[in-house]
Symmetry: C2
Subunit: 396 residues, 2 copies
């Protein structure tokens, strides 16, 4: 078998990768960087999943101009400007930046990622000034992770060592950003995963898609989907080692834990709630109801208010359009039966227990529809005054 061992810090754990950031003045009044890079000393295979928003931002269009299965050794990332809805000019701007970059350092098919306000051209000179400031041979994952934050309240980085039975090992690490606009079907989130595993490109594509579906596609902060969402996996193969099952588990683990970090950092959120819908006629119907729960404003405000009444949960399932029957529905909060057709009214004992559960930082709502085998789990958070404040004041 194999072991997946958590490591301290982030991207610096993966051999052959360099990273860092600098502040070029996009982000005011902060010591954090606003332009970051991730670089590999040898060309990497790269797999990526992007936003399903029809208005994909310029960096995504730029990435997609490269031929299928291209290799890269450089990722440039900026905060404060999404380079979205900027048309062909937005893509040309990236090309212009990259030719300035290649005057400073040899790069192969460099790619870019952006997050920030929609509708403004990138300030090219400011961003290009980072190329003089970057320590291209540095390994400062902390600085890179902090540079890509927007409304995030904490930086997100993780790393694992995968130790195989024969003593061989490879590493995987990631930095990630995202706090608001998080929705099943991705969100304004950027995630960059690096590995030195000798993973074949075909496995990279398949496993990244599968793991995205199990992680970032299941979380919701506010039901909106941004123009810039990107999950990118870079493999430089330098360890020469690989084990598919172990790599798959490590990739899933790193992405799921990062997704939960995003949700915990949901704008103004105080609680992480798991919504498992089971017993639906189909997986699709389970998904519809589960996502409706994690997106419902009335459910989210009830979570914030720690209101144990199950009425809003039931009403949201009923409104989701899936087949359901109030005589068959059963709802639990953690292990507490909160509704079935024989227990429609909350007595004092159950109500008090429900209050205790709802006060926790995380708990699980399980809804058994009682009609079939369809099961789906999504993850949501509460909606507080703070969410409104952040989003009324933040210009995207």
């Amino acid at each position: 078998m194999y072991k997946i061992i958590p490591l301290d810090k982030g991207l610096e754990n993966v051999q052959g990768f360099y990273c860092g950031s600098t502040n070029v003045g996009l982000r005011k009044n902060s010591e954090d960087g606003d332009v970051a890079f991730i670089r590999s000393e040898v060309p990497c295979d790269v797999s990526a999943t992007f936003t399903q928003n029809k208005f994909q931002a310029a960096p995504i269009k730029h990435f997609q101009k490269y031929p299928k299965n291209f290799q890269t050794d450089f990722v440039l990332i900026n905060a404060k400007n999404a380079n979205a809805m900027t048309g062909d000019k937005g893509v040309e701007d990236i090309d212009a930046l990259m030719s300035k970059l290649s005057a400073k350092i040899d790069v192969l098919n460099p790619v870019m990622s952006s997050t920030g306000v929609i509708g403004y051209r990138l300030p090219l000179d400011k961003i290009a000034s980072a190329f003089d400031a970057f320590d291209f041979n540095g390994k400062d994952s902390n600085k890179a992770a902090r540079a890509i934050m927007t409304t995030d309240s904490f930086k997100k980085e993780l790393a694992f060592k995968v130790e195989l039975e024969n003593g061989e090992s490879f590493n995987i690490a990631a930095i990630c950003k995202g706090a608001g606009m998080i929705n099943p079907a991705m969100a304004t989130m950027l995630c960059f995963i690096t590995t030195d595993a000798d993973v074949p490109k075909s496995d990279m594509d398949t496993l990244l898609t599968e793991s995205t579906e199990q992680s970032f596609n299941r979380i919701s902060v506010d039901g909106d989907t941004s123009t810039n969402d990107t999950v990118m996996l870079l493999a430089n193969k330098t360890s020469g080692k690989y084990h598919k099952e172990a790599f798959k588990e490590a990739l899933e683990k790193i992405m799921f834990e990062l997704a939960m970090m995003i949700l915990k950092d949901g704008e103004g959120a105080n609680k992480l709630v798991t919504f498992e819908v089971k017993g639906a006629r189909t997986i699709e119907e389970a998904r519809t109801a589960s996502v409706a729960l994690s997106n419902s404003l009335l459910v989210k405000t009830a979570l914030f208010g720690e209101d144990p009444n199950w009425g809003r949960i039931a009403s949201t399932i009923g409104a989701s359009g899936i087949a359901c029957d109030d005589e068959k529905l059963v709802i639990h909060y953690d292990d507490l039966l909160i509704y079935d057709c024989n227990n429609r009214e909350l007595d004092k004992v159950r109500e008090d227990k429900a209050y205790e559960i709802m006060k926790k930082e995380s708990f699980k709502v399980t809804c058994d529809i009682g009609l079939g085998d369809g099961t789906y789990t999504s993850y949501g958070c509460d909606l507080s005054y703070e969410y409104v404040k952040i989003n009324a004041e933040y210009r995207t």
Copy 2:
């Protein structure tokens, strides 16, 4: 031709109808009633549209037990308890109440409507005590309209006289409640429309459905849909007069104006915003994008923050899944061009104009997709701290 003339007050304008309310202690600390009635001295034809929530409340199931095209002369309405998710017992409770009612006054096929908390049985004795207190021959529309309020901050009643060319006339009036949980596809809203027009039952059914689609189905406060939504049209035909076109216009007008009153009373809402999407490939795609805009948390918080940036509007259209192209999209705030592919960045002049528009109590966002003829308009409001406060504290 004909004239539609606004009248003072509400249901008392329609001949042969009586109404009123009393407080039986469901609503604490208030002088308003909590149980109301609407009664006709002769049997009425009745048409109704109900919630699309799969968990329809007991009063709706009770209504639907009557044979098709049944007549009624009595509507009983209570606040504070939705009688939803109460199973067969919830329907039996209504039957029990109605037999107590018929001991006090002759009624034909009485129907009921409820709004309030989900999951609790009706307190039958309390509600039945209203039958001793009701003034069955009173005409107090104000008291009836106030009794059905929940989180509403003002009562909603309207009445029109329809004057035909030959001097003949008939009247139409309505009371209505609703403030939160308002969504395209109805909402926790109750609306009772009375008329003395001699409208045929088949016209009642058709026109009520059409007018609901043009009014209550186009407004959104929070994207949720309740278990109890009801729009009911009662016609006692006592004027003996009818003109289809005039009646249609009056019905549409009364329902649209009530829908706008609900939206203005949206929980914590300060602004009424019209979202017109035109130029979509189909009406369905226009509807999808328009409803996505009126439901988007990020759009709603940007409205509250009076942020003129169009990025969230564009991003929401792109995320809605409809066909769209950033080179063809054109966005206006009222008459101000805020985005087209040649005007991607806001200059100071347009930004200042946009601020002025967004400060208004109501304005219009028009998005021309530029791909076809599909047009749809929906109506939304901003999302404020107050919404969160109301919904964190109110138990439904």
